[in-house]
Symmetry: D2
Subunit: 365 residues, 4 copies
């Protein structure tokens, strides 16, 4: 209950007059009413409202993690907000089902009136991609042009300047790099991991070479495979090899950030690493849901307009399909699974270290 | 490709300037920024956009079925549009998950600033209820007042006048009443149904009375039950008994419409009844999804604000819960299942009748 | 890679021979093949497999929380497993959509062959209800009989003995009661809460009585409402009043457990309370999803068989509908929202207390 | 109610003893209990149960459409059954979320015990692919071997023989080829379509060449694009060109079947084409959902095991990803959208033709 405030009215608060008068079908303007154009407009408007909300959440997370010191509480808040983004993304995907209730033939009734407007002109979606951390060099050309060429000069400015602002990828990478536990209280996590991996690989080699039942040819194949696995682990453990992989564009995270992410995965049961673990999971969820959205969106376009050849000789569908995997931002986190090893092969943390990673309260008992 | 038209720009077409400047959090106005208020606003705005779309679809269906002669094509179009409504309703329900990422404590940060605005003030939602066919006498009082008392006089006018307009329920009832097949080509559907039901009930009675294994007491119980079933069938077959049930408010559809709906269910495999069958299913789907929305909405409110006692002594949660089942419009169609009998107990349609219900083309072969 | 083990074959591992030969339609046995009976069997078998998995998870959580000392890690594990249960529950609900592709008329083709088998005979579902913590006295009679009367004597034994085993509700209540933070390091949480509530209620009273614009009658109404709110808060703060509410069956949790749950809600941002908060949320999610399942299941039954009068004079649909809200186990947690107050009205924790609730590591900096 | 039958018991009917004793974790066998292996087993068993159901539906559809004369009723039944398959497929996809509650580290606890069992050994899934109509030559080699090499000889026989049986693709193609309406009652659909397309393309050319505002270079680009569109339409209209595309493996359907499918799309509002239209849509839905399943499954594998190099030098993830689009069966139906033209450019059907396509009943009025 509040004193003296003017009563708030639902419709005013939500600006419904403005909101509900924003649907002006072009087919009506052309005197050729197409029933389904309303759906087309409203679906896109809902998308833009959700995009605004996603930006709202992402900006707040970038801001918090851009600070020098990130409080534990902040990690919890970031997890909640990114989880919210994921819930919104599920709607973005499911919403395609509503769009698909419009058949290709119904779309043809007003499609020509919209020329050359296109979803590629959504400024907010570009801002989302950039605040996620998509790199300009990662993008595909569309009709041999940069991705922002088809919007107004004002909008181009907004998009281009967003490329230079702090992204989720950047702030998370820096936060990971600051993790103090890689070498902590005399326990060198990395040394132990390397040793456990070597032991595992050596045991694999012994099994292969010692098996009396495998043919010579089969043995050779297995050893080749093992060598590839060794190489793969080496590219994580060895900083120089890691940097080599990065320079080829096959990995994005710095060596230190990658190490920290792996540590968090492997020791996620320790209370102090629980929220960081959930944060990495939330980042993967957001990334995966955008990938899913791109995939489902491409399918929907295929179903709606087939493979019509568009301006510039490329089809919308093929372009969209090509972006699905290419536009992933946190792919390194997914690939981390490659480098997990069974908990049982890792040493327990020394009691003192474990204590430090627990709650102060527990120590006082 | 179109000649001479000005090129259309995505942002202009969707009125994004207007749309994306419609979020003005009250907490900011009060200098007490609450991060989650943006979500609260946008979720409600998305609801209102979908409500507009739902009204757009429903109005078009009412218009088509309000005509004297409803073409077969129109039935198909109505099915598609109601199916679209159902797809939108799924989003309305799923969207609650996004809302639930806001915790009760976060809501408290700005809840007081919104007083006394409330979702009960959504005019569009009232219009949807009324175009569905909700009867004013079916509604619960809220704080001892009519459901439209808490909106502005202008809005009250809009809502009240919508009570008098043609509803989905009305046009569907009239369309059902016009079904020509209840007595058609010498085949009296209703006579055959009555006879099949009687045969089934008689056989049930014989089994009960003739079973040497059931105790006297058990037999008595079974016969009471059978009598109740007989009564229940009688209230469908007998017009007077039917009208009696209607006058008690336990059934809404006229006797003729109910008969037609039952015919459609039982002979839905005949080509000419296929689309009518899908239409009845679509109406039930829409009705069920609103019921589901009411249910989930009430749950969400419970989780968000508990059972706080509100203005007038009733709690929002309890009020919402009470509307869930009460506000169903096409309940009669659900109850029809009670009166279905196995296909095998119904007579095949005479060849001449079946022909008439098939495609002209097939006859020409 | 493992030495010396026999290779595992997919079909053997999953016992597919056994699994895929477990579908024996009764309609075929009666020489009256009904295509849809296969669906009916498989849908129910899938339900039973998921029930087994749910029991597996719940039993493990009860076991861990039944121990004298619950480790922080265990809380995290419990959250993950209950979250898994919720994901399974979503499938249980969505699976009804598959069932609904069978129309009422198709069901009639084989329904009589199944007499008197019924989903009420699912032993596993009863075990789930009991391990959740449903109280025998909470249950509705079905046909004037206890809920386990319609299964075999062996199964009755299994169900009845499960009533006596430790339930999620019990172990959680005890764990809450042991929370050490209600009066900790000289900070009496409960005292502060009471004082904040009183201040809030007093301010509300001042606003009401001091408002020159409200009519006498309106003022009276508002004061009555306020008194009801005061009473409601008193029944949480005052142990005697709380116990009174419990004895009327309107609340289940002990006073101490309820206090702890409220503390966790209000100070959930403190690292040490983060996982406990997530645990309470997970319990509510599981409870809500069962409620949802009961609701959707009742709807499906309504749609499938209408309101046919069954053995004992009650209809399946009405019985199922009556259980929806009545069978909730953690309702107290939902009602807690009633007693939340804005964070800003609560005192900050003293620095020393906050330190104790943080990580040991942080203190060492 | 039925006389003399033995009462049916829920647990017996569903063979629960057999079903619920089919979970034997390998980790227990090795004395190294891994809690999550139960989930792993049950998830896969549920998949296999659903696969059985999907085969049940698909076989029944193939059987019906394999008949010489397909009744209108049969089309309706096929639509319902394929729709059911799609509802099941949604569960298959959503079920991955349950699987994903198992973290990569938890999987490592028992993964080695399962070697070399693999989902690639699911016989039922191979049967589903084959009954859909996947061509052997369409398949990718896995580790340089045919897709059935890793199952037992018995299972290989079953899979290989399924390659030779009638598939959904085949029976649907033949059914489409028999469509009588391509040249019907003196109305040559195909002639009219060709003429409407030519008119449209000519108008496009006129607009391009006549536009005084486009630069010479831009004009050239637009004309190239137009030529590509002309070529694309020609490959549908002209049988020889069509066969050329087929021989290159870029299209599967025969020319006649493709024509019929296009006719159905364009005149789907005619009552007699309504169900055929829904059938084509259902086929696309089933196809798309399998594609979606492949996609989501590949993502899950990526997240679970990363890009570990497996036997034969290829990674499971990359193999799975490669099958996503490649294993589509009804791609031609999706591509049809490319060849739709606005309804307004097509001639109305002559009254006599339209009558033939309507219901006999309507003619008699």
């Amino acid at each position: 209950m509040r004193k003296n405030d003017a009563p708030v009215y639902y419709g005013d608060y939500l600006k419904l007059d403005q909101l509900l008068s924003s649907q002006l079908p072009k087919s009506d303007e052309h005197g050729a009413h197409a029933h389904d154009e309303m759906l087309f407009i409203i679906v896109h408007q809902v998308y833009e409202l959700w995009f605004k909300q996603i930006l709202h959440e992402m900006q707040s997370v970038v801001e918090v993690f851009g600070k020098k010191y990130v409080d534990e509480k902040d990690v919890g808040v970031a997890v909640l907000r990114l989880t919210r983004v994921t819930e919104i993304q599920k709607l973005l995907v499911d919403q395609l089902r509503v769009m698909e209730t419009m058949t290709p033939l119904d779309f043809l009734e007003f499609r020509d009136f919209l020329f050359p407007a296109s979803g590629f002109q959504s400024v907010q979606f570009r801002l989302i991609e950039n605040i996620m951390g998509m790199k300009p060099e990662q993008r595909l050309l569309y009709n041999k042009q940069a991705y922002y060429q088809n919007v107004t000069p004002d909008h181009q400015e907004i998009i281009k300047s967003s490329e230079k602002q702090a992204s989720l990828f950047q702030v998370m990478e820096r936060w990971l790099e600051r993790t103090p536990f890689l070498d902590f209280g005399g326990f060198n996590f990395w040394e132990h991991y390397r040793s456990a991996v070597n032991k595992m690989l050596k045991s694999d080699r012994d099994i292969i070479t010692g098996n009396p039942l495998t043919s010579k040819e089969e043995k050779k194949k297995q050893l080749l495979e093992l060598a590839a696995n060794e190489e793969s682990f080496a590219a994580v453990i060895d900083k120089t090899k890691h940097n080599d992989v990065v320079s080829k564009g096959k990995r994005q995270l710095s060596h230190k950030a990658l190490q920290a992410a792996l540590l968090i995965q492997l020791y996620r049961d320790e209370p102090i690493l629980h929220l960081p673990f959930r944060l990495l999971t939330a980042l993967m969820d957001v990334d995966e849901m955008f990938t899913m959205w791109r995939y489902r969106h491409a399918q929907m376009v295929h179903r709606m307009i087939g493979t019509k050849i568009g301006t510039g000789g490329s089809t919308g569908y093929n372009y969209l399909k090509a972006t699905v995997e290419k536009y992933r931002v946190f792919g390194d986190l997914f690939n981390l699974s490659t480098f997990l090893i069974p908990r049982s092969t890792l040493p327990d943390l020394p009691a003192e270290v474990r204590k430090s990673l627990g709650f102060a309260y527990a120590q006082q008992r």
